[in-house]
């Protein structure tokens, strides 16, 4: 049986911030995906960045001092 991939999402203050982060993270070659913010996480309209749990530290480090983010949540598509 294959192991279930565990995802998290990082939320930003705006789409501009999200897409800026997307660009920086892609430059660092961290696998990510921009997705609409899941309803159960926030009622905010807009998008967030989904990533594999094991990349969390790498992502926090890459964003530090470059793009402020709002919060990180665990996210597992059912």
């Amino acid at each position: 049986m294959s192991e279930v991939k565990r995802y998290q999402v990082v939320l930003f203050y705006s789409v501009s911030h999200t897409l800026r982060a997307e660009k920086l993270l892609k430059k660092e070659k961290i696998p990510i995906k921009v997705i609409p913010i899941p309803r159960h996480i926030s009622s905010n309209c807009g998008v967030c960045i989904r990533f594999l749990e094991e990349h969390r530290e790498q992502i926090e480090k890459a964003l530090e001092g470059r793009v402020d983010f709002d919060s990180i949540h665990s996210f597992n598509p059912r």
Partner: protein, 385 residues
Amino acid sequence: MSNIIYFDNAATSWPKPKETLEAMERYFCDIGASPGRSGHRLAIEAGREVLATREALAEIFGTGDPLRIVFAKNATEALNIAIFGLLKPGDHAITSSMEHNSVMRPLRAMENRGLELSVIPCSLNGELSPDDVVAAIKANTRAIILTHASNVTGAIMPIAEIGKIARDHEVLFCVDAAQTAGVLPIQVKEMFIDLLAFTGHKALCGPQGTGGLYIREGLENIIRPIQRGGTGSKSEFEAQPDFIPDKYESGTPNTIGLYGLGAGVRSVLDRGVEHIRNKEIGLAQHFINGIKAMPEVVHYRCGDISKQIAVVSFNIKGMSPSDLTLILDETYGIMCRSGLHCAPSAHRTIQTFPTGTVRFSFGYYNTVDEVNFSLEAISKIISSK
């Protein structure tokens, strides 16, 4: 030579690089969506391109963080955000007598609400003395608001020097770069610029309806927005977001325009600001040399050619500026602008108020042949007077 010669680039640049139109066409045909709102792929793609435009501007102005670029519909709107957002009754502000009405009118309106305003007189050549600025600074001076170059004479202001003075006196420095963004090097950090207003449709080679304001880090905490509304962010709250750029960017943006602006700025970066400047100023110098040899022409010069942009104001003795521009258009196909150029104070300074001048403003696509043709036209007009 085609039958149109366009010497009105200080009003708006034309033609534009083909990349500008191609980017706008790409948006129109393939994207179409609103950035920063919905989460589908077209909306995200539009958002990416709008961000790329901020990044190109951050590069050309040396701002670092691209999110410090706030979009507006032109330099005028950007200056209104800066002036009405920052200044309060009881504050003192300093500006020059060479300003465009996009600076002067908001400042005069604030003066009616209790702002103290010092307008520093410039010389007949439109030169500003930094010593006069220092002498005008008082305990309640909040900001110095200054054009980077005059749209009437082309005179370049000593921006870096005034920036240093502002920083030393802990006064905020706001620059109107409508005439210079894309033709003169601008580095906000080295020049101590706190607020930089730019327009997209002149030398940055974008379409009309684009422009913006660079806001130095931290100033978003003290600059009020002049409009409030939907931003696509913090939608659960009824209060305006307090972070940049959303605080100042309410409503659906001019996405197609921002696609064009991004392509325009990248074409400027590819050509190089230095190269563009050299080409344009070469044409201006050639034209100035030509009219110098005509005793009937009065040129409102600004000292050394290195201290001006490719804008030249002149008159033919005994002929009104509007008559001259009409003949230039109808008989010679030369497009230029006469009158006061939205800058009555600048015309008072160079003593051409209220008649104004004829203004030729050269752009990247003009040629020496066109300049020669215009010199012949002017000399024919003089001899048939």
